[in-house]
Amino acid sequence: MGQGLLENMPFQLPINSAIAGWTSEKFGLKFQRELSATPFRVGQINFTGSVSMTPIDQVPGDSTGRMTIHSAPVIACRECDLLQREVALSPGGAARCRRCGALLYRCIRHSLDRTVAFLLAAAVIYLMANIFPIIDVSVQGDRSTSTLLGAVHALLKHDLTVVALLMFITTILAPALEIAAMLYLLLPVRLGYLPPGFAWILRAVQEIKHWNMVEVLLLGLLVSLVRMSSFATVTPDLALWSFGALAFLLAAATASFDPHEIWARAGKTRAVETTP
């Protein structure tokens, strides 16, 4: 499994270290007095808004990486590599990198429940958006209508196979994979266990997400609608409303999803698995 290559992890520091000057009292915050693999406890503190993280002056020894119970996990900013200590956030709060301002993690109220709810709704709406016609156009009794797959097919007929493939992936395949994979991951988590392949599927979803362009498609549909309305009678059909709802639901699911906390769960189980 490759553990032999890594000495010890996660990297933990004793709490009574050089950075004790910063802390709780200063921000009205509490250290999270648990292992990094434990999800955040919320509701202990009444602090909202963004928290500026504190950089670490000297990371004290502990080269053995010995796990200490009373310690705050160390995280590194993904955009500038600055080491910082994790702080507990109140619901709705966000931790930002002190140096570059990147979003480090957030604390979202009922994150898991909300994400699953939005995803379930998105799954239903996704089917509607792809089955029903999008727009109905007619000029003097001459009508035409199409589903999304029909528009992809139109590109194929013009021998633009690669472009058709690109449109198929970004508007049909990627959203389907994202919704299915997220539900596969989160429904079991909601029920209290981790599904097989949790880590690699979650990593894959993070990559697939970049290629889901439903919101761009929605704008494209609206632009087409306005353009055609100058010479034809245009009636929005069921799938157009569905795409509007789908774009909203996927954005809402992303906004309520807390990867920091979900990854922590994966680590917790992994640690249990690997403990003899």
């Binding site: 290559l5 080491l83 087409s224």
Partner: protein, 209 residues
Amino acid sequence: MSGSTLTAMERGLIPCHACGMVSRPAPSAGVAHCLRCNARLHLRIPDSASRCWALLIAGYILYLPANLLPIMYTGTLSGIRRDTIMSGIVYLWESGSWGIAVIVFIASIMVPILKLGALTFLLISVRGRSPWPRRERTMLYRLLKLVGRWSMLDIFVAAILTRLVHFRFLATVDVGPAALPFGAVVVITMIAVMQFDPRLIWDSKQQER
């Protein structure tokens, strides 16, 4: 704040690019994997700058046919119009659809130029000491990640119009040969931005100390 900053690299720690967990690889290790999610660990995205340059150059080359070839043929009673991306926008503007013209102009002209130009700037700036503030450069990188996808707009519009507008005598729309290079520019520049490692912007700061 000076002197109070320490990066993961300086401590010999590697944050996992996928799950974010910070780990300390053993000195003897060849290829290390994250213990939590099993992703391969890298101190920085491997060959970030060279990969970016290669993709950028491909993007610049494809940018020409994408903008010079017609992306849409519109057939009406009075003949056939061949529209490149820019002439299509001018036509929209002249026919009174200002709102649509502005949206398409931003998505199809400004965003690709911004991506190519800004990424070139970022890549040059990380080569040496750059006078530009690092925080602002990081914000530029974040902006690029955010807007890149919106250039796909024109491809989607062309596909939808091609499918729907086929009326006898009155009007037909067909997608043109620019769709392929244009789509390629969008995808290639998106991958280029993903391959750029923003930590390169900050690494020179650590070396100065």
